[in-house]
Subunit: 188 residues, 2 copies
DNA sequence: TTTTATCTATCTATCAATAGGTAGATAAAA
DNA sequence: TTTTATCTACCTATTGATAGATAGATAAAA
């Protein structure tokens, strides 16, 4: 069996484009990343980026859906009894902190949410799907943790999600990283 | 006493420029509003906007500080015993909802926070000042409401502020206005 | 095996639109 | 006369996007 004969047409370039775009969106938002910047960063020309992702919206959708898939893959199954739901919650909160707050950025989803009026509708759809992934996972965790019914648990999930995103806003606006743990102490 | 003889050099145009800029920032962020759009909206040329606010940063600072001043003027003095601190808190939460959520926008401060990497430093400073106004007002309210010391009250203030901003993110991302009251039910 | 055709990934060059900002003229008001 | 507020006209830079060429790989046909 030959090595590297798998059909992986151009995975490398596509991935590098998405990596660069994700970083740019997180840092400056949808409106402020350009095909030229991305092209320069990965060492090709902007027309070649258009070859892989015809429009800016296409690229943003690709970035957002990849992010959602990776995120989903990281979450443990809430129904697996061997993991304490309390630990799952702490892991979620710590993960958010690690990915977002400590890099002095806001999350990919918060940035795209802020720019929602500028987005092609397809990106807005991908964005809403990501929030639904988070909400339904947290709901299942709260069902187990606090013996709540679905509705009550989903309410708590929304409350926690608001605390998380709001905490990141507070950190970014004030520059004081401590606000993250302070805002989240409500949940620990 | 003559009417309208007050020193108000060009308050009308300046105000109209700020109004337009504020609306544009709230709708699309710092990066996506332009002097040309503003000029067209109020019926002058972009060069005339530059006359009143030489740079984009100058205009954004003016918008943000005006917003802070108006906001501060709306808040009741937390030490006035005739107003129930519980009512003050509810008023704050309701006011946020009215100004932000019901217009399907995010707040001026959240938008600028998302764009922080793009902002001239002066805008960042004006932004941080606004958060400090909110935090210290809420701190005083919590001192009275729950008999807390300054530190404990400021912690709660941060937690509430996070819930408020996070709730607006949730509403904007999902399009479901109900998330605001759900996320805030924690505080009512 | 050679030729022909197609596909992939990149390039150069360019487009129209828009950006923030500036120079200089003008006319009215103080 | 000087100041205030506006204009016209322009500059340089950047944007998302497209057209057309090219080099190399692949695969089918002769």
């Amino acid at each position: 069996m030959k090595t590297s004969s798998n059909k992986q047409p151009d995975k490398d370039t596509k991935t590098r484009i998405m990596d660069s775009a994700e970083r740019a969106i997180v840092q400056s938002g949808y409106g402020a990343f350009s095909f030229r910047d991305i092209a320069e960063e990965i060492g090709i020309k902007s027309a070649s980026v258009h070859y892989h992702y015809p429009t800016k919206g296409d690229l943003a959708v690709a970035v957002m859906t990849r992010f959602t898939d990776e995120f989903r893959a990281l979450l443990p199954d809430p129904k697996v009894a061997s993991i304490d739901p309390r630990a799952m919650l702490d892991g979620f909160i710590d993960g958010f902190k690690k990915k977002i707050v400590e890099q002095h950025n806001m999350s990919l989803c918060t940035m795209l949410t802020a720019d929602k009026h500028l987005l092609p509708e397809s990106v807005g759809v991908a964005l809403a799907e990501f929030y639904e992934v988070k909400l339904s996972w947290l709901t299942q965790v709260f069902v187990r943790l606090n013996n709540l019914d679905e509705d009550q648990a989903r309410l708590k999930a929304g409350q926690l999600l608001a605390s998380l995103h709001g905490a990141s806003v507070l950190v970014q606006a004030t520059g004081e990283v401590d606000w993250y743990e302070k805002a989240l102490s409500l949940w620990r």
